[in-house]
């Protein structure tokens, strides 16, 4: 399996994706912005097809669209991103725009599939270098701002009054989220990114209560999903995203079952 370059790259990419998503996912779930994350990935799809349409790379288009939306939402207050109606409007609008750009750029339909659902076969050395560079940038930012980001995510009301530069921290977080979504899209695809950002982190809640334990466990859940998903995909030739989604869903199911049992015994 490791004889193929793209498989080696995909496994390496999995490590970095797990590193970023373990921290970002923990914060996303704490902020209760799972649905906004989903919207942001649809905005990412539309950005990627825009990139193809005007002839820049899909990643560049995705970064532009998601970062711009993150800044917009951040400035106007995160509450907007949580409102149900605005979520529907943005999701629909950007999916529609995505399909428009794709059809204008007269690319084949399989191009859309690979943006929406990812394609590991597509990963080359250049992609992996960009992924690692962006991951390092994100991890550095996380290291520097960790305490502030954690306060801002886990106690938004407390931080609002008692943490200096709190609004700036919120905006930085959303931009980081935009980056995370754009770089993860290459493997799992725009539609399923939110799987890695929200499902494993929701499961860790039932197993760990210290912040660092939650992040470490989340890392394990994500890496297990991505690596096993790649392996099964290699064996069966079925899509990776499918296996990743199923594995993460099983982990979440196990967490719920454990919680249910624990409550039942009391």
């Amino acid at each position: 399996m490791f004889a193929y370059d793209f498989m080696r790259y995909a496994f390496i990419a999995g490590i970095f994706i797990a590193l970023i998503c373990s921290v970002m996912g923990t914060f996303v779930v704490a902020r209760q912005t799972s649905f906004f994350t989903h919207t942001l990935s649809e905005i990412g799809f539309s950005g990627a097809s825009f990139g193809i349409f005007i002839g820049i790379s899909p990643l560049a288009g995705m970064l532009t669209f998601t970062t711009a939306s993150a800044l917009l939402i951040g400035m106007s207050g995160e509450r907007l991103g949580r409102r149900e109606a605005s979520i529907s409007v943005f999701s629909g609008l950007f999916l529609g725009l995505g399909i428009l750009f794709l059809s204008l750029s007269d690319k084949q339909a399989n191009y859309a599939t690979s943006i929406l659902f990812g394609s590991i076969v597509g990963i080359d050395r250049n992609d992996i270098e960009v992924l690692i560079a962006l991951s390092i940038l994100l991890l550095l930012t996380i290291t520097i701002l960790f305490k502030r980001l954690a306060y801002n995510s886990f106690d938004s009301q407390g931080a609002q009054y008692n943490q200096r530069f709190n609004k700036t921290i919120s905006i930085i977080f959303l931009v980081m989220l935009a980056l995370t979504i754009s770089i993860t899209a290459q493997i799992v695809g725009a539609l399923l990114i939110f799987v890695l950002l929200t499902i494993p982190a929701s499961a860790t809640k039932y197993f760990a209560h210290r912040l660092y334990q939650m992040i470490v466990l989340n890392f394990v859940f994500i890496l297990a999903g991505v690596w096993l998903g790649l392996y099964f995909s290699y064996l069966t030739d079925w899509p990776v995203s499918f296996f990743i989604t199923v594995i993460e869903a099983l982990i979440y199911g196990a967490a719920i079952a454990k919680d249910h049992l624990a409550n039942h015994q009391k």
């Binding site: 305490k147 200096r164 860790t204 809640k205 209560h209």
Partner: protein, 219 residues
């Protein structure tokens, strides 16, 4: 009387309604002052407005003898549901002004443990905050604020959802930590029993103005 905050001739409006006109009062350093008044009179709005003036260094109607960094505000509503996963210790530690690095881990941890002891949270510090009772949650909010070494502590309706025993326990705790940390406390409440027993002053807001009354706890 040395004051930590004085307000002179403050006018305050929200869209379509005037809340205060010519409001003036002083808050004595080291006192516990209860802010009272009917629902909608503007207690919380007033406090938030004062915090904003302090943050923007706007001193026309308000003079503060503290910096914004030395004030902790404990809001009335917080997004903590039953499923909130983080343990009490980590939640409280968000209040610490310094970050935990390996060279200062020991003193920071000692400080955290000390505050958890003062707020009687040591026994349950590893439990998720979501599973804590109403009284324990309020003590965790208080502990988080204390971690920031405030000089002025403002609590907004902290006893609103507590039963009588827990109310008294929280207020007794506030009087104790006030002494130990040299705090001035502003406490927004409706509860006449608590005001009579624990407050030094009551700032009663009514008819767009306020009166400062001396209360029982004042010697």
């Amino acid at each position: 009387m040395k004051s930590i905050l004085s307000v002179h001739n403050l006018d305050l409006s929200i869209p379509n309604r005037k809340l205060f006109s010519n409001l003036s009062f002083e808050i004595a350093q080291g006192s516990l002052t209860c802010i009272t008044g009917e629902n909608g009179v503007g207690k919380t709005t007033l406090v938030k407005h004062l915090l904003q003036d302090l943050a923007n260094n706007y001193t026309v109607h308000t003079v503060f003898n503290v910096k914004r960094d030395e004030v902790q505000y404990v809001p009335q509503l917080r997004n903590i549901d039953d499923e909130y996963p983080l343990c009490i210790k980590d939640f409280v530690a968000f209040g610490l002004k310094k970050r935990n690095f390996f060279w200062n881990r020991k003193p920071l941890n000692e400080k955290l443990e000390q505050i958890l002891t003062e707020t009687k949270l040591t026994r349950i510090k590893d439990q998720p905050l979501g599973k804590a009772s109403g009284g324990e949650k309020q003590r965790a909010y208080l502990a988080q604020a204390l971690c920031a070494d405030p000089k002025l502590l403002i609590l907004d309706e902290a006893t609103a959802s507590l039963d009588t025993t827990n109310k008294h326990e929280l207020l007794q705790m506030l009087r104790e930590v006030m002494q130990q940390h040299g705090l001035t406390i502003l406490f927004i409440t409706h509860d006449p029993e608590l005001i009579a027993k624990y407050a030094d002053y009551e700032l009663h807001l009514e008819d767009q103005t306020g009166v400062l009354l001396e209360k029982g706890a004042k010697k």
